[in-house]
């Protein structure tokens, strides 16, 4: 019993130390957030070289990744630099492995948000190497694999993503980590959706909605949104509108303006799919304007191509040509990827002569979507039929 007591005391000393370090780090990390990037050229003060300081930086990186992924990357890299500078054996296993792995995970996630997918995958590899240095980090390791599956899906490596998701689901379930289990289901559904396996996507989404925690409104909204889009693909229009409106209401409550506009976009696409072209034109015009007001030029451009589709279907080809010209100028003015400008220039020119305008729009839209994660991809016109 004495041995247990000794171990317990050792454990309590470690947690008291880590808690104290985090408390002490809070002020310094807050000051760092307000400072410039010059800190990279400074020496790391010895009082920063603690696990608590690294945890605090990693936690800031996590908090800001949605709003400022580049800054998040800086914080996560700084966390890693400091973790590297902590002398070996300072902490018992698995503390050092966990803080390094967590820093790498945030580095990977920040890269994912800025569409640097190769860098994200490398970071996730390093996170796994770090976690592998301890025995007791199976849950952290499964969460990194979930993040990896998201990147693989973005890269259209769907089968690899599905395989990975199937492997980690039972591990997360064992830990009763419901939040991540729901995310696994959500991701699996997204992959099915991208593969056109809409029935399987619907089944996964319905199961995920039955498992999502009551207070997790954002995940519930995202699941409802995708379910709406899935119903739309299955031709269950009424259910699609119901779900999309429900998702929209939740996102309005959460104050997520960008996501509300994305849901409006899904609603407009469902209207377009249902064949109400006049209404779709009206909705897509509003969506485009809202994206532009939010400075989301990429999304505004893609919504513009959907609008071009609706205009062509509504026999307003001249308006469609004029719209593509406008989108092209927006891309030039915003200095977006020059390859996107090339593709839009091609579309502007080809719409004057092609007997298949919808095919041309679809080709350029697919290219622009791919360009988001393959910024060096060269544009080629569609093969002639």
């Amino acid at each position: 019993m004495t041995a247990v007591r000794e171990r317990r005391d050792e454990f309590l000393q470690t947690i008291a130390r880590l808690t104290g370090e985090r408390e002490a780090a809070r002020g310094a990390v807050a000051a760092l957030r307000a400072s410039s990037s010059e800190l990279w050229d400074l020496d790391i003060p010895s009082e920063w070289r603690t696990a608590g300081f690294v945890q605090e930086l990693t936690s800031v990186a996590y908090e800001i990744v949605e709003s400022n992924p580049r800054e998040s990357l800086g914080f996560a890299q700084l966390a890693l630099a400091i973790a590297t500078s902590i002398p070996a054996e300072t902490y018992p296993a698995p503390i050092q492995a966990q803080i390094e792995g967590a820093a790498w995970k945030e580095i990977g996630t920040a890269h994912r948000y800025i569409s640097e997918y190769d860098a994200a995958l490398r970071a996730y590899d390093s996170a796994q190497r770090a976690y592998g240095g301890a025995n007791a980090l199976a849950q952290d390791s499964a969460v990194v694999e979930l993040a990896r599956a998201i990147v693989l899906a973005e890269l259209e490596r769907y089968e690899e993503a599905l395989k990975l998701l199937a492997t980690i689901e039972p591990i997360l379930r064992d830990f009763q980590d419901h939040r991540h289990v729901v995310q696994v289901r959500q991701m699996t559904a997204n992959v099915y959706f991208c593969q056109g396996r809409y029935h399987q996507a619907r089944a996964e989404l319905e199961k995920a909605l039955s498992e999502v925690q009551f207070d997790d409104a954002y995940t519930r909204a995202a699941l409802t949104n995708t379910l709406g889009a899935t119903y739309s693909q299955l031709g269950r229009t009424q259910e699609a509108f119901l779900m999309l409106q429900k998702a929209r209401a939740m996102l309005v409550d959460l104050g997520m303006t960008g996501e509300v506009t994305r849901t409006d976009w899904s609603i407009a696409r469902a209207v377009l799919g249902a064949g109400d072209f006049g209404k779709a034109v009206e909705l897509l015009r509003t969506v485009r304007q809202n994206f532009l007001a939010l400075s989301m030029a990429d999304d505004a451009g893609l919504a513009g191509l959907d609008l071009a589709d609706a205009l062509i279907a509504n026999a307003q080809l001249d308006d469609a040509r004029h719209l593509v010209e406008t989108v092209l100028h927006e891309f030039i003015n915003k200095k977006l990827n020059h390859r996107a400008v090339t593709a839009l220039s091609y579309l502007r020119d080809v719409l004057r002569t092609t007997p298949q305008p919808l095919r041309a729009v679809d080709h350029v839209r697919t290219y622009l979507k791919r360009l988001r994660y393959e910024p060096e991809r060269i544009f080629l016109p569609p093969p002639e039929k």
Binding site: A81, N135, A136, Q139
Partner: protein, 175 residues
């Protein structure tokens, strides 16, 4: 002063909670590892201790502590056994044969320790650049991608950081 007292109280309460969880579950975790995976009690105790530390790092998001701890000990033991299975036992006469990797240990060990210490005394940017290049095995273009710069600059940075590490380490040793 009041804030400091509050913080100290909160820390004490938190420590008490973790202490209770440790005492309530320690034997259960050790028994689970020994009974289900047939590892020695000594190994099981070390694993259980590791699991409690991992639990502390995750406690804010754990809903059911006992379920989490049991799952963690099972996964930790399986991982421990997988790692151990990779070990190959040496032939009995190996005790007489010197390990070739230790042939220059008297020279190599101080070098390795010095490299680690030299690593510790460079700037944050150099820490990350040297870690990526020499610990994670990133190529120069991969280091460049990580640091959002050109491969040419990344190469220069790595060379500069190596020089910095060397100079600072040398200065450290000077009286």
């Amino acid at each position: 002063m009041t804030a400091a007292v509050h913080t100290a109280t909160a820390l004490d309460e938190r420590t008490d909670d973790f202490g209770a969880i440790y005492e309530e579950n320690y034997q259960l975790l050790v028994r689970t590892a020994v009974k289900h995976y047939h590892i020695s009690e000594l190994d099981a105790e070390a694993l259980a201790h590791e699991v409690f530390l991992a639990y502390f790092l995750k406690a804010h998001e754990v809903i059911n502590s006992r379920a989490w701890l049991i799952s963690a000990i099972c996964n930790a033991t399986k991982y421990f056994l997988r790692k151990r299975a990779r070990h190959v036992s040496l032939p009995s006469e190996s005790g007489e044969i010197p390990d070739p990797s230790l042939e220059r240990v008297n020279d190599a060990l101080p070098d390795r320790l010095a490299a680690r210490e030299a690593f510790e005394c460079v700037t944050a940017k150099c820490q990350i650049a040297l870690r990526l290049r020499y610990l994670e095995g990133y190529s120069v273009p991969e280091v460049a991608a990580e640091l959002n710069t050109s491969p040419k600059y990344a190469q220069k940075l790595i060379s500069r950081c190596l020089r910095q590490a060397k100079n600072r380490y040398r200065k450290r040793g000077e009286p």
